[in-house]
């Protein structure tokens, strides 16, 4: 749980969509094994920051260094291979595959066999496959989906889908796992479960970058919180200090006013 040394360093990161600067000169770092919260009103640029880390968009400026090496410009599958795995804000399971197979895909970058051993049916290819299945089963147990192992993924509940995404990302043996509003849409009891699982992930020494609107959920997990507003970082502090930070309160009050005008649900209002 105690954070180790910095392994991801983000500096001067910016992303523009046309005239809109979604991420504006952001700096922060991620330390080994920590749970880092990323919050901010709607449209603050949190998801865009995620997508930049995962290689979905090219950044306009800045750098993201992993162990000192630049990763901007790498395609998503290479970033995954470097140990950064993500879950999606809207569940994205592989619908034609079983729960176990979904998790096995997550382990893609950890396999070393190649296709020739598979074709020859070598003992090594088989034992790798067996070990992988076992690992997937363990992860399915870890997230509490043991009962659903044979359920078609299309019949999983939303909350179960979230757990599946989590197990799938863990299968890649990440050093950092990204969650984009994982508690959204979960029932209170599912929230408690997920929160336990995220704590369990951190206990395994995996760093977690957590975007979350549910402040109760976030504050109980995060060891440090970065706050974005209109694309810029306005705070980077311990959770207890965030609550009283004037800039943060200001940002969320502004957001609450906008939300009121839009008659949207006040997801940011509970800060």
């Amino acid at each position: 749980m105690t954070a180790g040394k910095t392994f991801i360093e983000i500096s001067n990161l910016s992303k523009r969509f046309g005239g809109l600067t979604a991420v504006d000169d952001v700096d922060f770092e991620v330390r080994e094994g920590e749970v880092l919260g990323l919050i901010g009103p709607n449209g603050a640029g949190k998801s865009t920051t995620f997508n930049l880390i995962c290689g979905y968009y090219p950044a306009n400026t800045g750098s993201i260094r992993l162990d000192g090496k630049e990763i901007i410009g790498q395609p998503p599958h290479k970033i995954a291979a470097l140990g950064i795995m993500r879950t999606f804000q809207h569940n994205m399971p592989f619908e034609g595959m079983s729960v176990t197979e979904n998790v096995m895909v997550g382990a893609h970058t950890t396999l070393h066999g190649g296709l020739i051993p598979v074709l020859l049916g070598t003992g090594r290819a088989r034992s790798e496959e067996r070990a992988l299945r076992k690992k997937a089963d363990e992860l399915i147990d870890f997230v509490g989906l043991s009962e659903e192992r044979d359920t078609p993924v299309t019949s999983l509940s939303f909350g179960q889908g979230r757990l599946l995404e989590t197990a799938r990302a863990l299968a890649g043996e990440p050093r950092l796992i990204l969650f984009d509003e994982p508690a959204a849409g979960l029932t209170p009891s599912e929230c408690v479960r997920l929160s336990e699982i995220i704590r369990g992930i951190a206990d395994r020494g995996i760093a977690v970058l957590l975007i979350e609107h549910d402040m109760h959920f976030l504050m109980s997990l995060a060891e440090r919180v970065v706050v974005l507003n209109f694309g810029s970082k306005i705070a980077d502090a311990l959770p207890q200090d965030i609550r009283n930070n004037p800039a943060v309160i200001q940002a969320y009050l502004g957001d609450a006013a906008v939300i009121g005008a839009d008659t949207e649900n006040g997801s940011g209002a509970d800060a």
Binding site: F94, L119, A169, G172
Partner: protein
């Protein structure tokens, strides 16, 4: 052990059958094997890797034409012509898929359709090399170790191509590679996030299955000792699609069932409705999809599943 017996048994039956059949039925049988072999590899490309390509039959034609041209016009011996023809098909498939991997669904279908059409145009306009619209005829397979391969022996050759194709695809389907293909089919963005190199995986699937089609085409070329453009045209490309969809796309068994069923239906319908049989099969496809998108195999699973569920309910 059990697997070896099953595969050996299947091979044995498939190789004995052609010797028991009268000539006409034997010919129907070996052409059926050709279609099944193509349907199996097309199912991997379309149903498992999710690539809506319409070039599969063209690649069978490329294999057929190349091996014949190499042997009859360039005097290349059979054992060299086979790898050369497979290699050419592989290179062409690689180029086509390299260009087409950014395309999906409808656009991939269009691009591969254009390629298939181009192939037909080249055959039609190929002069002496391809024999033009009439194709190439009256060539003969040379003796292999002093032995003339013809009739039922060609059925055996096709059976071996089919079994090899199936064994190969079953192996890769049940491996990390098959999972990567299915993952891309289901959600390319999520697959990439899991570390799957989408482009590479797609190119590999397209190239491998196209080479398999070429392999089946090579044997086919010697069934009647004639190859001509209409055989490798669009009608058969769509027939392959119908087979896989009706049988149950994504399922190896579905591809086999679909191919056998549609071949039989086609032979039965053709005398009555002429070329309208394509329409009939198209309607059949629509009906099957409406009932169960997973095709006949899906319908069967539903029936068995319902029976099981009924039994489970009856128990307590």
């Amino acid at each position: 052990m059990g697997a070896a017996i099953r595969w050996g048994g299947a091979a044995l039956i498939m190789c004995v059958v052609p010797f028991l059949l009268p000539l006409y039925e034997m010919d129907v049988y070996r052409k059926m094997l050709f279609w099944v072999a193509l349907a199996i590899s097309y199912n991997f490309l379309f149903g498992i890797a999710g690539q809506m390509a319409l070039s599969h039959f063209a690649f069978a034609g490329i294999g057929a034409y190349t091996v014949v041209i190499l042997m009859t016009q360039a005097g290349v011996p059979l054992l060299l012509a086979i790898p050369l023809a497979l290699g050419l098909a592989g290179i062409l498939a690689f180029i086509v898929s390299f260009a087409a991997t950014r395309l999906e669904g409808f656009y991939l279908a269009l691009a591969t359709l254009a390629f298939a059409q181009l192939f037909i145009v080249i055959l039609d306009e190929g002069g002496a090399l391809t024999g033009g619209t009439g194709g190439l005829t009256s060539y003969k397979l040379p003796l292999v170790f002093g032995f003339e391969i013809q009739g039922p022996w060609l059925a055996i050759a096709m059976a071996l191509v089919l079994l090899l194709t199936l064994a190969f695809l079953l192996r890769i389907d049940r491996s990390w590679y098959g999972r990567a293909c299915r993952a891309i089919r289901d959600n390319g963005e999520a697959a990439a996030a899991m570390g799957v190199d989408v482009k590479r995986t797609k190119i590999m699937a397209f190239t491998l299955t196209s080479v398999m089609a070429a392999g089946a085409g090579m044997v086919y070329a010697f069934f009647d000792n004639t190859v001509n453009p209409p055989v490798f045209g669009l009608e058969n490309a769509f027939m392959l699609l119908f087979m896989v969809i009706i049988g149950g796309s994504g399922s190896h068994l579905g591809a086999i069932v679909g191919a056998v069923l549609l071949r039989l239906l086609q032979d039965m319908l053709e005398p009555f409705v002429g070329q309208f049989h394509v329409m009939g099969l198209g309607i059949l496809m629509v009906v099957v999809i409406l009932v169960q998108p997973k095709g006949l195999v899906g319908i069967w699973d539903d029936l068995v599943g319902r029976k099981r569920a009924g039994r489970r309910k009856a128990k307590p």
